[in-house]
């Protein structure tokens, strides 16, 4: 499917990728329904807070070291600034960059602007951003408020670009536009693809774009073995690096929930091949991912060597871990593709996966390539599994965990882990998305699981001394009882 980079706004995932946020059944059924075109969104009359596109857009843009982000919004929408600043500083230290606060500013919309329009405030914020941060590029992220009152971000950006002599780029990530907050990644990437990336001046045959969050640098070593080097995007890059994304030999991604739009855009618009393969978690996924990369860059023999060396080197400890973890039960909750990836990983380690729920589901990715279908990969290599799309609905998750009582709960989103803990279930969140990646990732996860299971003192204490905020009535209903069509009267 061709991305439309001429439009100012990215098309939301509901329309572009057939994304839905409510489902319960099995992974296999979800896959089959997706392929048959029968899958439908299911509503929930009751809901708890989720997240929004503004968060994910700022997540990607705020850590570009020499760009600035103006959040055109009331001040509460800047609630995530400190989170991304912390992330940014931690990454700066790890990567040897200059330690400094992120270049973030809020236009601080108040009642007056809601009534008369926020243009003047936005102009002030953009001018201040230039003066304070001396950025190469300024991104303006929209908000529900700016969207509803109809501030003309496109027109204002053009005028400000001219006035200030640098690209001022609007990012349309209003929270109300999409239920799928991953749409904000796309909005950020849309801005980067359409306004920052330039056609390649000179191709770099050994450079591989790695679309990721803020994981440890494991690819320098991994790619080094086959004569390649990683170019991590987007956090911690410079504008210059982004301008030259087109020079890379290929683009890989660790999670296509994150990178689908950017990877497809780089291929379609700038001719950088996207590695279309299942995510590199678990042995079969990692094998396929590396082989496809090797094929694209013409290094298949080196990749085969890498695969056999790595598999051999992890084999003894992997066997031990499989013995230790055999038949332990686990439940997984995460963003869509990363959720699939973790389930693959856990099955590879021999755990018994009782089920999983993810925040949303994209029925296809922008590349529309079956080889990259992570759900298909999960089912065909590791078998079916009970599966839901819970849209981060805490009440459903707690109900599920309360019933299933797994030995372990693995979650990847903040504000969720504690609910496993309150139920006395050993729980962890791995923030580093590279931790479980590749062959070494299996060992990392296996060790982490063994450690977590070996001392559950904290969660036992929590379970004994805290109460859940849910009624007994609710805990006795089916976990997905509020999904439209499933509700029992």
């Amino acid at each position: 499917m061709k991305l439309n980079l001429d439009n100012a706004e990215v098309e939301i995932r509901e329309r572009r990728l057939g994304a839905i946020t409510g489902y319960c059944g099995t992974a296999g059924d979800l896959y089959r329904q997706s392929k048959s075109g029968l899958l439908k969104e299911q509503e929930r009359p009751f809901s708890q807070c989720t997240s929004c596109s503004s968060v994910t857009a700022i997540c990607q843009l705020s850590m570009i070291q020499d760009a600035a982000v103006v959040n055109h919004a009331p001040l509460g929408c800047a609630g995530d600034f400190c989170e991304f600043n912390f992330c940014n500083r931690t990454g700066q230290v790890k990567r040897g960059l200059r330690l400094k606060n992120a270049n973030l500013i809020s236009s601080n919309l108040r009642e007056e602007e809601i009534i008369y329009g926020g243009a003047a405030k936005l102009e002030e914020a953009v001018r201040e951003a230039k003066e304070r941060f001396q950025p190469r590029v300024i991104f303006i992220t929209a908000s529900c408020a700016s969207g509803i009152i109809g501030d003309d971000l496109q027109g204002l950006s053009e005028l400000l670009s001219e006035e200030l002599g640098l690209p001022v780029i609007p990012v349309f990530c209003e929270g109300f536009r999409s239920r799928v907050w991953a749409t904000g990644f796309d909005a950020a990437f849309h801005a980067i693809l359409s306004r920052v990336v330039k056609p390649a001046r000179q191709k770099q045959p050994d450079l591989i774009n790695v679309i990721n969050f803020w994981g440890e640098d494991i690819f320098s070593d991994l790619f080094g073995k086959i004569g390649l080097k990683p170019n991590y995007v987007v956090p911690f890059t410079t504008v210059d690096q982004l301008e030259r994304l087109s020079e890379a030999a290929a683009t890989v991604q660790v999670c296509s929930t994150l990178g689908t739009y950017l990877a497809a855009g780089l291929e379609q618009q700038f001719g950088v091949p996207e590695v279309k393969a299942p995510p590199p978690y678990g042995i079969s996924g990692t094998d396929a991912w590396l082989r496809e990369l090797g094929r694209i860059v013409g290094r298949s023999p080196q990749v085969e060597q890498l695969i056999s060396d790595a598999r051999e080197s992890i084999a003894p400890e992997l066997d031990e871990l499989r013995q230790t973890l055999k038949d332990r039960t686990v439940f997984v909750s995460a963003g869509a593709v990363h959720g699939h990836s973790i389930i693959c990983l856990l099955r590879e380690l021999g755990l018994h996966v009782l089920g999983g729920c993810v925040w949303h589901h994209d029925q296809w990715f922008d590349n529309r390539d079956a080889r990259a279908d992570s759900l298909d990969h999960l089912i065909s290599h590791y078998g079916d599994v009970d599966f839901g799309i819970c849209n981060k609905q805490n009440f459903e998750l707690v109900n599920l965990l309360n019933r299933l009582r797994p030995d372990l709960f693995i979650v990847r989103h903040h504000g969720m882990a504690v609910w496993g803990g309150k139920l006395g279930i050993p729980t962890f969140l791995i923030g580093d998305e590279h931790f479980g990646l590749g062959y070494q990732g299996l060992l990392n996860y296996g060790r982490k699981i063994a450690d977590t299971l070996s001392n559950p003192a904290l969660v036992k204490n929590l379970a004994e001394h805290t109460r859940l905020p849910y009624t007994n009535w609710w805990l006795n209903q089916e976990p997905y009882a509020f999904l439209e069509g499933r509700r029992q009267s």
Partner: protein, 439 residues
């Protein structure tokens, strides 16, 4: 209102954290999908890693306003979520809070919530659209909503019962410990404090007792003045406004004497309590004084607070009057309404007998940085602010301690800077930051 870099407070919808600070109270947000989680991140996790608690974080009911509600209105959607909340969530008090979307679109939330109120349910609503004001004002709006929509006049005033209005939960990262400390001080002189927020505060039952109080005590430069005035109008309860947050012996003793006198407590009881507390305070201060007076390396020459008016003033008075430090420029970040600024500036003008400090009112970190750079630093500065201020402290070769949002470099449990012990804690933390920079 200026643009804001490095925000240290958020919008009126931050009031969800005020609701969560009431035991077994459940906020219901009629707002966009990301509001609650952004505010949770900024005000709770960003306040020294305070988490979900009983029903916060991802458990907060929310309509997650989408395009549908923006175009066609969201009142029916709100009804659905309230209905669900009443079935699913185990709470004693429900507070519907509106965000920007619902307010711009013009949903009649009062009408919707009124339908539930007429069924006798403990539910109120507050208009906390983000553009309406700050998290400080949101806090007042929630308190005001509960008072006007739920409370009834008391059949009888309870002698000695005092409602305490002071720090804003979560907006003050030390709110839990601070309220416990204020409770301890007031109980120490013989009052029955009703602190309303935090551990052991009693939830809805405590709020129902509000009209029965002998008086309301406001310990804050301006936040909460509207609440105590409303209580005076609605129930005739008088109030004492003590504008300085008491940190350390000097201020706390002064505070307790004022409160004791206002409440009509026997002077001997109050004095006896003060005496025991001061004795402990000065016992420890004495032991630290070798260090204060003979440390051979640099100690800060001027302190700069970058904090809300409550903390900026409370900390400044403590450092000046208890520890004998000297102030540089003080930055007040909570955007106090204009009518309250003279009082606050006046307090800084007379911090101690011969000590005054200049004050800058700004919520914008960029303005703070500009002024700190322009200040003529003859000594190493001590910057008491938030995690944002670490960079400027390093740039100025100064010391730094985070005491206000965002606090991302410390874990906060029940630490308090209020009262006598609070002063000792603050001294420990300041000098830990300084000494930690040595080796």
């Amino acid at each position: 209102m200026t643009v804001v870099e490095q925000p240290r407070h958020f919008c009126a919808l931050g009031a969800q954290q005020t609701v969560l600070a009431i035991e077994r109270a459940i906020p219901i947000l009629h707002a966009g999908p990301g509001c609650s989680s952004k505010l949770f991140g900024g005000m709770s996790f960003g306040a020294g890693y305070q988490g979900s608690g009983y029903a916060g974080g991802s458990a907060v009911p929310c309509t997650n306003t989408g395009e549908q509600e923006v175009i066609f209105g969201g009142e029916d959607r709100l009804r659905q979520v309230i209905d669900g909340t009443l079935q699913v969530m185990d709470g004693d008090l429900f507070v519907v809070l509106t965000g920007c979307t619902a307010e711009i679109v013009g949903d009649d939330v009062a009408q919707v919530v009124g339908e539930y109120q007429s069924r006798g349910l403990p539910i109120v609503h507050a208009e906390t659209g983000g553009f309406k004001g700050t998290s400080y004002q949101g806090h007042e709006l929630v308190a005001s909503a509960i008072i006007s929509q739920l409370l009834k006049p008391a059949p009888q005033i309870i002698e000695g019962l005092v409602n305490v209005w002071s720090v804003v939960p979560y907006q003050d990262p030390f709110w839990g410990g601070d309220l416990e400390a204020l409770h301890g001080l007031l109980a120490g002189i013989g009052l029955t404090p009703n602190v309303l927020f935090g551990f052991g505060s009693g939830g809805l039952a405590a709020w129902r007792k509000v009209p029965a109080a002998q008086f309301n005590l406001l310990v804050s430069p301006w936040v909460g003045l509207g609440i105590v005035q409303q209580l005076q109008e609605q129930f005739g309860t008088p109030f004492l406004h003590y504008p300085v947050f008491p940190i350390g012996a000097r201020e706390t003793s002064h505070f307790l004497k004022d409160v004791g006198q206002y409440a009509g407590l026997p002077e001997a009881t109050v004095s006896a309590f003060i005496e025991t507390q001061e004795a402990a305070f000065y016992h420890y201060l004495e032991r630290a004084s070798d260090f204060f007076l003979e440390f051979r390396y640099d100690l800060p020459g001027r302190f700069f607070t970058v904090a809300d008016s409550l903390y900026a003033l409370g900390i400044s008075r403590f450092l000046v009057n208890d520890l004998g430090l000297l102030p540089g420029q003080q930055f007040v970040t909570d955007d106090p309404p204009v009518e309250h600024r003279d009082l606050i500036a006046g307090q800084f003008a007379s911090l101690g007998p011969n000590v005054t400090a200049g004050v800058t009112f700004t919520p914008d970190g960029g303005t703070v940085i500009r002024e700190l750079r322009a200040y003529r630093h003859l000594h190493q500065p001590l910057i008491i602010g938030s995690s944002w201020d670490k960079d400027i402290a390093v740039e100025l070769d100064g010391y730094h301690l985070s005491i206000g949002i965002p606090v991302r470099d410390r874990l906060i449990l029940d630490r308090s800077y209020a009262g006598y012990r609070g002063g000792l804690r603050l001294a420990e933390d300041i000098y830990a930051a300084i000494l930690g920079s040595y080796q």
